[in-house]
Symmetry: C2
Subunit: 473 residues, 2 copies
């Protein structure tokens, strides 16, 4: 195995060996303990994957020949690469099920803007001298979200981020600046960016257990709060976990904090990556609202809304933001954002979709997604495949398909023995039927007398939802 000798690092850096062209990445990925080797204990508490910079599929850049402009060969080569790539995108988009991206959008009306270098520098609310920006669209989008989450125009601050991760990084940073010695609490099923933030920001971080549904376990949360009563609490609340689409019970989290004596000594960031935008349109769903004592909410823009590039929305209270900002005369702007330079096209895409669909349009789409998710879950179970669907979610969790090629083909996100499909507005019944029939057909070849049983997923989805053979009696 390449790259797995000794501590791995020195070996890789000192003796680079040429790699075979079509090497399977998995073959040379190996996990090794991060803890110092010298302690002699193979604890492997925290593992990292040691990767190589594989160049299996790479369109390399070739220096143009002097006569390229005359012959047109260069242009022809590039056009052919792009045409092939476009075909592969069409194919890959068709078979996309595992990631919560709404691929159904038409931004033809905006293609006229692609020729401009649109950059929203710094704070969206303070003019910068750079004129080629789209703040007027950005602020329109932010207003819409502030209204959705019930924060007054003159009491909120926010910006359009590059992705959900930036929203989490920002929310947790605001929390840390408000409570510099606060401890970060997050359920173990939180998105990995939350734990990345803790490491980046050098914050103490406490992982909280989850229920089978994927929600935070407030009994465990209480226990851990009481162990750390002397320090303020910064809490990441999941409005839809990545894997199971579970929604943490915000009201119970707040009650637990208050019962434990943390009144006025906590900061809540709501990671609403996907469901932050769906929840308000689900009947009986607990409300994410700034009328409750929360500090910030983030949501992804490329997920439910749909956008050609990753982006997100971050809303927080204006009163918190001054803890973070610093005066930057260069831009004639203070900068409380994380990134500084920001993609000015994303706000226009969001503005366009929100304006076309409106609250009503989103409500319709959310209902359709939930309906289709129920359809998928029911069909899976009818076919004898263990599956789970949280009440407020469109994420269907089920037994991980045995064949990795199948997983890749349908771009399923997997963790341990489970996989999931996130039913987005572009996922139709036809697409689900095509997926189901292919899965059922292939699965019949994976298990049987000699080939063994399907994996038990009771610990992931509960015994009621597991159909592994031991639990479906």
């Amino acid at each position: 195995m390449v790259g797995s000798v000794g501590n791995g690092l020195a070996n890789l850096a000192d003796k680079p060996a040429p790699l075979p062209e079509e090497l399977d990445p998995k073959k040379i990925i190996d996990s090794l303990p991060l803890e110092e080797e010298s302690n002699g204990i193979e604890e492997k508490k925290r593992e990292i994957v040691l990767g190589r910079n594989l160049h299996t599929t790479c369109f390399s850049i070739v220096e143009p020949e002097a006569d390229d402009e005359q012959t047109g060969e260069r242009e022809a080569y590039m056009a052919s690469v792009l045409a092939r790539y476009r075909r592969s995108l069409v194919e890959r988009t068709k078979h996309h099920l595992g990631y919560p991206y709404n691929l159904d959008f038409d931004y033809g009306a905006l293609s006229q803007l692609q020729h401009f270098s649109i950059n929203n520098l710094g704070d969206p609310f303070i003019e910068s001298n750079y004129g080629v920006h789209s703040r007027q669209f950005e602020v329109g989008v932010l207003d819409w979200f502030a209204r959705l989450w019930e924060l007054e125009k003159n009491e909120y601050w926010g910006y359009i981020t590059n992705c959900g991760t930036e929203g989490n990084l920002h929310g947790i940073l605001v929390g840390r600046e408000v409570f510099p010695d606060g401890i970060l609490y997050a359920s173990k099923e939180s998105h990995y960016s939350v734990f990345k933030a803790a490491r980046m920001y050098r914050m103490d971080c406490v992982k909280v257990e989850t229920l089978i549904s994927g929600e935070i376990d407030c009994v465990d949360f209480e226990k851990k709060l009481l162990q750390n009563k002397d320090k303020p609490a910064i809490i990441n609340v999941n409005i839809g976990t990545t894997v199971k689409g579970a929604v943490d019970d915000l009201d119970l989290v707040i009650k637990t904090l208050e019962d434990c004596g943390f009144k006025d000594r906590f900061y809540i960031h709501c990671d609403g990556a996907l469901f932050g935008l769906m929840m308000p349109f689900v009947k009986r769903a607990p409300k994410v609202s700034f009328k409750k004592p929360i500090g910030s909410v983030s949501v992804s823009g490329h997920k439910f809304v749909g956008c050609p590039m990753p982006c997100g929305v971050q809303i927080t209270r204006l009163e918190h933001i001054n803890a973070l900002s610093s005066n930057v005369e260069y831009l004639a702007s203070r900068d409380a954002t994380i990134m500084g330079s920001r993609n000015g096209h994303a706000p226009i895409f969001l503005w366009y979709t929100l304006n076309r669909k409106g609250y009503r349009g989103f409500q319709k789409e959310v209902q359709k997604c939930l309906r289709n998710a129920h359809y998928l879950k029911d069909r899976l179970k009818e076919a004898g495949i263990g599956a789970m669907l949280n009440e407020l979610s469109s994420t269907v969790v089920f037994e991980r398909p045995k064949d990795e090629e199948f997983v890749r083909r349908w771009q399923l996100a997997c963790e341990g023995n489970i996989a999931h499909v996130v039913v987005m507005p572009n996922v139709t019944i036809e697409k689900l039927d095509s997926f189901l029939s292919e899965l059922v057909q292939m699965r019949s070849g994976w298990y049987g007398e000699e080939k063994g049983k399907p994996p038990c997923i009771a610990k992931d989805v509960g015994t009621d939802n597991c159909l592994c053979g031991s639990h479906d009696k």
Copy 2:
């Protein structure tokens, strides 16, 4: 003045007053000390600007009427907003001089890809299950830059970032993970994201003095190193400062470190935001190369290359990256990036331009920019306006125009008494002439017998370059 009473915060949060529609942002921006008020000393060492979330120019989002689809009114309204916006972009792009963005690009061939949600999740070199990505282009671009900065294919790691700031955040984070107790050193003219990083990452940070040119002052650097000999050094080296385009002397920085006994106990991040890509093509310029003991280099993609949205390239040594990465099974990918989800369109834009222009094409453009920058500097001085141009730079620094409207019109970036123009490939002699004649004409009205003298900028550009009246004898 609104929002400047007491500590400002409580006032803003508790008593939101309605704002006049067309309020000038500057009128309600006020600086106040961040230090605790209670000490009673008005030190104002570190100031923040307290802004409001102004809604002066905002395209608000309106809920569609039920019959909008029939009447087509909604579509017509949006089309008119977009058409007006497009016209303003044309106008603003035409008068853009102060920010280092190359606005001269034609990506018509790529408009066919705008309909896809392209997302490069996690590590560019390890396949993720999400199929709608552009890693094959990304890796091609990274290879090109690794070659430019002389690091072998199998010894580098990198990714395409959202902007120059992300490159700095990443480089400094890698440095901190390599030397957890390291102190961050950066010249005071470094980009503000460097100091933001120090605050985010809870690192000790030492600001180093600069020479008149804007370069780091290695005498002061040595002094400060010797005061902190017990801790490793993490250094941000500027390959082109933001305001003056000054290039820190990398070789002298390394020599200073070694002379002070820091051998093997330092990490250098090169912030090459703009000049990282220009320098290799400037004759006699000191070389940025991984053959020297540097840890990472970042460069912006939307600056010299030109790209519709901010982006950047980050290259570091593969051996360092394992200090940062963590295993994220969810994506079937480790994630050593900061953002996780990344814009998949940006790599295609970069790939397209690099392939078309090649090293030779960039060389030609760099030479043109330097020539035009000299032209501008000479014309300014001929007109009696103090100006400076660093030898390796295309950033012309000059006396700040007195009229703020003029500054905004030409989108000049200003700091104190100086402004600058960054001569990019899209800045032609004609554009410079038009700027110069407008400036000279307007300036004749700003100063004179009763109106006073132009500001002295000797402390910013040196007495040789100042033409304030006291220094031009």
